[in-house]
Structures are given as structure tokens and as C-alpha cells.
């Protein structure tokens, strides 16, 4: 079979800039018919950008796209869909108040009349979902569906439109290990029936399990394309990371060197939570009932769980952003009646998961962002009046220490890139010199060097006795950094594992409520 007959998609010389930022630089990608092609790279490498160009959401500056050997233009998602391309985005694009069927059928020509009659389309949906093992009730409202079902809706959107090429962008971030296996099986079934798949991820292990050929992107450039058998794990890591990091000495990749340090824990109990209960404020929230745990000085306690099982509620109730009942003792003192600003003053810092909604002040300066939470204390203020000179000086120090890429303390925070926003949030939290740090998905969306930076900072403070409550949906991260990992399911802690007994499948079962 000549290459042209078996090639379904080719992208050549693609370049995309956002203002002065070069997101893609002369990228090439070629996907064969009936293959699962992995697109591997750290966050910010350009994988999503490349796929958004393919799907017509972004317009490339230069470059060619050829489908089935014919060079075409993809100017909008509508054209992409007509070419047989379907995409499952990282954040599901769904209308919560519509039913699953309505979401799937949105934008498709429904019979000849514009009248909304869903009987025939729903039959097709049911047939597809049975064929590929994607079980779903078409009439259920999106709001009521759990994460796994919502993903099936996204996949069915593409299958319903007779997609030839299915793109999945980081599909496993919200899934338990068992659900990941199920997804992989569905994908293999789809490929057997003639579909091709592009699988975007930054998780090397997944790509080696699932994909036949793998293209690695780094800093917007295509670094290499190899078949799975042709290279070792190390080759791929090197391709993803390049010269930016010393792989041999990094926490991420050479963990064994740090094992002794990570395993160390202080003896004094710092935080004790007893019988924490939080009422669900609305249908989208998860109530917490009778949750108890404790953390020692210098300990990193991980909380594993599928998103939506109470993680936000836990973090926010500990920080008193959400009302709760139960007893909380910190550093020997009762915390239950204190307000958020008192907790901050006593040494608890919080880095929320959603940086844009819950952490960033976009129209304010970097300096104004950095002092949030400490704005009534020295050195920033004497309680009443701000000390603008001290604020600028300290902000510059933090910018240097945390390597935040910005013009300076007076620059507008809205111009910071994602990784730098997170660095700023961490700078804000660490500058408080907290005794306890609560972080939620701290490395989500960060590129590899930034991720390494975060872990190093956590380890550095851990050495000085800082305790950390690490809430994360990333099991690799938890197993790397934590002394103990607790699994949360439907607002309860259903199990705790000690370091040395970490087992992904066991935690996965706990996260699904099966243990």
C-alpha cells in the first residue's frame, strides 16, 4: 500500500501566532487510515492549537491541510464536520439545560422540515451507542449526567455525524483507571469499524498503551513521529522535554533520587478535621458528610477523586468560603468559627483550581494580584494605608523568585499566560509563609518545566515543615508527591493508602465507590 492510499490526513507547514506568541511553527502531521495516532507533548506544546486549526476554530497563518489526498481549506467547524472530522474537546462543550439528544443533534439538518421532531434521530443515537458500547439515555438532561456519560455524549456527537476522523483532546483527565480502559476498548472498536483516531495527551503511558504511531510536539514544533515499537520511553521523554530540563535530576522523571525526602514526615499533628459536613448549595454541588482526617507537619496528604465528588466543597469549606459544620483544629487552636481572612492570617494558604474564575484579578496589575489576601498586613499595609513602595519592591522579588514572565509589577495581569498565572498564584500563596497549603489541581494545564517547578517548590517548603493538602485528579501527581493518598467519593473519604502501597487500580475502585 503506497503512503498516499493509506494516508487519511496530512497537515503540512502549519504556522499559527497569537499576537507575538508563536503557538505553532512549521508543524507536520500525518495520520493513516484506521490507525490510532497519538499526539504527545507537555501542556502548551501546541497540541490543542493544532487540532483547533484542523477543526476550523482557529485560522492558521500558513500551512496546508489535505484530507484523502485532496488539499482543502477548513474555515469553520461546519466545514470540518463536512469533511468527516469530529472533535471531543478537553472541556466538554455542552448546554447543561438541554437533553443529551438535543446536544448531539444541535446544528444537524433534521429531516426536511425545521420542526423539532427527535424520534428518528434518537433511534440512530441508540443504535450507535449500542454498537460502540457508549451507553447513554438520550432524554436525560446534561446537568444530571456524570462525567463519564457526558464524555460519551461528546463522542456520540462525532459518530452521529459519520465522522471518519475522531480527535480526542486529553480525554482521560476526568476518568478513573477503569473508565479509561473502557474508553480505550470503545476506541479500538471504532477503529476496527473504519474510523481513525487522533489521541492528544501528555501522559506517556497512555500513548504507549493505545497508539500505534506517535507524533511528539514541543514548543509548537513537531519534534518526531515514530511507531510505538521503534523507540523507548526515554526517547519520548527526551523529545517532549528537550534541553529545557535536566531529566536526570528532575523530580518528575528521576523520582527515585528524591524518595527519601518525599517520604519524610514530621511528628506534630498540624490539622485535624473531625466530622466535616457541608450542605450542597445547589444541584451541581456535592454535599460532604462526616469527613475526618488529619495532617502532620511536613506531610503531603493527597485527595484523589473524580471531579465533582466534593473536592471544591472540601477546599472551600476548610477555607470558610463555604459554610460547614464540624470541628477543625489547626496548630492547636479551634478554627471552626473563624472567617477566611483570619485563616489566611494564621497561616493557611489556598490555591484554587480555577485560576481565572477564582484566583485572578484580570484588570488589576500583577502587584495588586500578588497582595490579594495579605493586603491588610505588613509589609503591604499598616492595616489602613497601603505602602505602595513596599508593595512594588516585594512584588518584584516574587516575580524573580517564581520566574513569572511579565514586564513587571505594574503590568496588567490579564496579559499573563496560563503557566504564569499559576506561578503568580503560587507566589501569592507561598509569600504568606503558610504552615498549611491547600492546593487543588496545581499543575493542570502547565507545561513540563512549570510542573517541575511546582513540585520542587512544594518539596522545598515541605522540608521546612509546611504541610500540604493536595487535591488532584492526576494520580501520577499524587503518587509522586504524597505521603498518603485518600480517595473521596460522593463527599466521603472511602479509603486511605500509605506511600509504598500506592496502586492505581485500587484507588480507581475507591474513586468509583466500589471499595
Amino acid at each position: 500500500m503506497t503512503p498516499s492510499e493509506s494516508t487519511l490526513l496530512e497537515m503540512r507547514g502549519v504556522r499559527k501566532t497569537f499576537g507575538s506568541v508563536v503557538a505553532l511553527d512549521n508543524v507536520t502531521l500525518s495520520v493513516k487510515r484506521g490507525e490510532i495516532h497519538g499526539l504527545l507533548g507537555g501542556n502548551g506544546a501546541g497540541k490543542t492549537t493544532l487540532m483547533n486549526v484542523l477543526f476550523g476554530l482557529y485560522k492558521a497563518d500558513t500551512g496546508e491541510i489535505a484530507v484523502d489526498g485532496r488539499v482543502t481549506q477548513v474555515r469553520s467547524p461546519r466545514e470540518a464536520i463536512e469533511l468527516g472530522i469530529g472533535m471531543v474537546h478537553q472541556q466538554f462543550l455542552q448546554v447543561n439545560s438541554f437533553s443529551a439528544a438535543e446536544n448531539i443533534l444541535l446544528g444537524t439538518p433534521l429531516s426536511n422540515r425545521p420542526i423539532l421532531d427527535l424520534t428518528l434521530p434518537k433511534q440512530k443515537i441508540r443504535a450507535l451507542s449500542e454498537k460502540f458500547g457508549l451507553l447513554l439515555d438520550p432524554d436525560a438532561t446534561l446537568e444530571s449526567l456524570p462525567m463519564g456519560a457526558r464524555q460519551r455524549v461528546e463522542i456520540l456527537k462525532a459518530l452521529y455525524r459519520d465522522a471518519k476522523l475522531l480527535i480526542l483532546d486529553e480525554p482521560t483527565t476526568m476518568l478513573t483507571p477503569q473508565q479509561v480502559d473502557s474508553l480505550f476498548n470503545s476506541l479500538r472498536a471504532m477503529v476496527k469499524s473504519g474510523l481513525s483516531v487522533i489521541f492528544i495527551t501528555h501522559k506517556l503511558r497512555e500513548v504507549l498503551t493505545l497508539c500505534e504511531r506517535i507524533t511528539v510536539l514541543r514548543n509548537g514544533k513537531s519534534v518526531m513521529t515514530l511507531a510505538r515499537e521503534e523507540a523507548t520511553e526515554d526517547t519520548f521523554i527526551k523529545a517532549m522535554v528537550g534541553e529545557e530540563m535536566n531529566i536526570g535530576q528532575s523530580l518528575l522523571f528521576a523520582k527515585s533520587g528524591y524518595e527519601a525526602e518525599i517520604a519524610q514526615v514530621g511528628s506534630k499533628e498540624l490539622l485535624k478535621v473531625d466530622g466535616l459536613s457541608v450542605e450542597a448549595a445547589s444541584e451541581e454541588n456535592q454535599a460532604i458528610s462526616d469527613l475526618s482526617f488529619s495532617i502532620r507537619e511536613g506531610e503531603i496528604l493527597g485527595v484523589a477523586g473524580v471531579a465533582g465528588n466534593g473536592q471544591h466543597e472540601l477546599a472551600e469549606s476548610l477555607m470558610r468560603i463555604r459554610p460547614c459544620k464540624g470541628k477543625v483544629v489547626f496548630d492547636g487552636a479551634e478554627m471552626t468559627v473563624l472567617a477566611t481572612r483570619d485563616l489566611l492570617a494564621r497561616g493557611i494558604a489556598y490555591v484554587p483550581e480555577n485560576r481565572w474564575d477564582d484566583g485572578l484579578l484580570p484588570k488589576a496589575t500583577v502587584a495588586q494580584n500578588l497582595i490579594l489576601g495579605s493586603h491588610r498586613h505588613l509589609p503591604y499595609s499598616n492595616g489602613l494605608m497601603l505602602n505602595l513602595g513596599a508593595i512594588l519592591k516585594r512584588s518584584q522579588e516574587l516575580i524573580d523568585e517564581f520566574k513569572i514572565k511579565t514586564e513587571g509589577p505594574q503590568a496588567l495581569a490579564a496579559n499573563l499566560s496560563g503557566g504564569n498565572v499559576q506561578r503568580m498564584m503560587l507566589a501569592r500563596a507561598f509569600s504568606q509563609n503558610p504552615k498549611l497549603m491547600i492546593v487543588h489541581n496545581p499543575t493542570q494545564g502547565l507545561d513540563i518545566p512549570s510542573t517541575e517547578f511546582v513540585y520542587n517548590k512544594l518539596l522545598e517548603r515541605k522540608r521546612t515543615g509546611m504541610a500540604t493538602l493536595l487535591i488532584s485528579e492526576n494520580l501520577d501527581e499524587l503518587f509522586l508527591m504524597c505521603n498518603r493518598v485518600a480517595a473521596i467519593y460522593r463527599g466521603r473519604i472511602v479509603g486511605v493508602l500509605e506511600r509504598g502501597q500506592f496502586d492505581a487500580y485500587r484507588v480507581g475502585r475507591m474513586m468509583s465507590g466500589l471499595e
Binding site: T48, Q94, N96, E102
Partner: protein, 313 residues
């Protein structure tokens, strides 16, 4: 007989009063359903009233005046759509700016054309169209089927909007734009077209709502003719949960309050007329307590969608 006349008269007045609220509110709802929150109604209605009156005066045709008001309203809507959907500016600020422009331009146009006179020119009132057969039903016929054309139009447009939004696939797409524009965009729905179309048509309706006032009530444009109805229309939109059928029903409440308050001022009552005049505004404030607690708003209302905006990373 006197009682019946009084009752019929009262009921007719309510239907008459209904029109500006229904039209302005449906117009607000329509663009709001694609995420564009129009707060310039007061200015657009003033401009519609002024331009509609002046054109009707000049062409001696109320119909052409109404069309002119629709066109002028549509142009304001075009501006709103351009600044919000394309330029992605803060919708409240743009709405206020358009409100200022409508306010100033309506007075300016009137002063330039009519000048300052003591004898104000007037246009004839919008005449009634009697529907054959139905109009002959005793009492009900007189109230419901012997009204001016815009009353009928208000009813028809509300029904049409209901069917369009909830019974057609185009309506599904339109609603999706206001709930999750990225989702709609990624499935090939033309978000920009929807936003422009709804905002232009919606503002045209608001312009017509303004023109209705001089043509039915006073015969001439005055600076105070809208009297806050533009703002009340926003409240009505929330009160009706952003649904055309509920907005139509809710408009009755606003119309009844307005008519009652006017009635009491004319007929006389123990309460000083100044307080009666506040009735529409005060009742609306209390209506909003209900509306904000219990109604559902399009998720993307007031926010601007940018296809190329990079989210998390």
C-alpha cells in the same frame, strides 16, 4: 350598561397599554437569548418615538412612520451587535452609550425639524381594525378584536417567537448560542449571524414600541413620552423568565398597573396623584424580587464569545 362600558373601556385600555411592554420586552429577550444583553431600550424607544413621529408627520402615513422607527431601532441594534459581538466590548457600557445617543438624537431631531413652537403639530391616532365575525362577539369582541394593528402584531409576534424558539431546530440552535456559544460554534452553528440577527430584529421591535407611544397616546413626540417603560421592559423580561409566552402574560401585569395608576389620577382618589404615579415603578421593584429568585437566565447573557480566545492553557 354604564358598568359594561366602563369595564370594556378598562379592558381595552389594558390591551392598548400592553403593546409597548410586549414589543420592547420580546426584543430584549430575543437578543438576550444569544447572549447580547440590551440595556439601551429607553434610548431606542425615544429615538423610535421621535423618528417615527417625524416621519409620519412628513409622509402623512403612520405605517411609514412605524417602518422608519423599526429601521432606526434596527440600526441601533446593528451598532450594539457590532460593539458586543465583533468588538467584544462591555455590553452594559455600550448599552449606556447607546442610551445616551438615543436620548440626545431623539431630542435633537425633534428640535431641528419642529423647532420650538407653542402649537405642536400632531399625527392622527392609530386607527382600530375590526376583525370580521370575531369582532361581533358581545363584550369580548369589542375588547379583543377591535384593536389597532400593533395590538394584533404583539400577540402574533409572541406566538411566533414561542414556536420558533421551542418547536424548530433553528430555535434550538439560537437558544444554544445563549447557553454555550462555544458548543454551538463547534457544531457549525453560525453564532455571529444569530447574534446580529436577533439584536437587529430585537432592537427594531423596541423602536416600534417607542413609535407606538406618540401614535396611540399623545399624537406628538415629547421628551418624557417613554417615561421609564424601556427600563420596565427589562424587568418584564426577567419576570417572564426570558420566555416569550410568559413575557406576554407578564406584560398584562405591567399594563394593568399602568392603567390603574392613570385611571386613579384622572378619576381622583384620596391618595395624592404623585404617589399613584409611582405605582408602576414600585410594583416593578417588588416583581423583581420574585423574578431574580425564581427565573432562569441564559447562561451566557452579557458575556462576549471569542472563538479564538484561549481558555485554560
Amino acid at each position: 350598561m354604564d358598568q359594561f362600558d366602563s369595564f370594556i373601556g378598562f379592558a381595552r385600555l389594558i390591551l392598548l397599554a400592553l403593546v409597548p411592554y410586549v414589543l420592547a420586552s420580546q426584543g430584549t429577550m430575543l437578543s438576550g437569548r444569544t447572549g447580547i444583553f440590551n440595556v439601551a431600550q429607553e434610548g431606542i424607544m425615544l429615538l423610535g418615538a421621535s423618528v417615527g413621529f417625524l416621519v409620519a408627520l412628513y409622509t402623512k402615513s403612520l405605517l411609514i412612520g412605524i417602518i422608519a422607527a423599526a429601521v432606526v431601532g434596527g440600526l441601533m441594534g446593528l451598532a450594539l451587535a457590532y460593539f458586543s459581538s465583533t468588538l467584544k466590548m462591555d455590553q452594559f457600557v455600550i448599552g449606556l452609550a447607546l442610551f445616551f445617543i438615543g436620548l440626545g438624537a431623539s431630542s435633537l431631531a425633534f428640535k431641528l425639524v419642529v423647532g420650538v413652537t407653542l402649537q405642536l403639530p400632531r399625527v392622527p391616532t392609530l386607527s382600530n381594525l375590526r376583525i370580521p365575525l370575531l369582532g361581533d362577539i358581545p363584550i369580548l369582541g369589542e375588547i379583543l378584536f377591535n384593536q389597532n394593528a400593533l395590538v394584533y402584531f404583539s400577540v402574533l409576534i409572541s406566538i411566533a417567537l414561542y414556536y420558533y424558539l421551542y418547536k424548530t431546530s433553528w430555535g434550538l440552535e439560537l437558544r444554544a448560542v445563549g447557553e454555550n456559544p462555544k458548543s454551538a460554534d463547534s457544531l457549525g452553528v453560525n453564532v455571529v449571524l444569530m447574534q446580529y440577527a436577533t439584536t437587529i430584529i430585537g432592537s427594531a421591535l423596541i423602536g416600534v414600541a417607542g413609535a407606538y407611544l406618540p401614535m396611540v397616546y399623545t399624537g406628538v413626540f415629547t421628551q418624557g413620552i417613554v417615561q421609564g417603560r424601556g427600563w420596565l421592559a427589562i424587568a418584564l423580561t426577567f419576570f417572564g423568565g426570558w420566555r416569550p409566552q410568559l413575557i406576554f402574560l407578564g406584560a398584562f401585569f405591567f399594563a394593568i398597573v399602568e392603567v390603574l395608576s392613570l385611571r386613579a389620577q384622572i378619576v381622583g382618589s384620596a391618595i395624592p396623584y404623585q404617589f399613584l404615579r409611582t405605582l408602576p415603578y414600585i410594583t416593578t421593584i417588588f416583581v423583581m424580587i420574585y423574578a431574580f429568585r425564581w427565573t432562569r437566565v441564559p447562561a451566557f447573557l452579557g458575556l462576549n464569545y471569542d472563538r479564538e480566545k484561549r481558555s485554560l492553557s
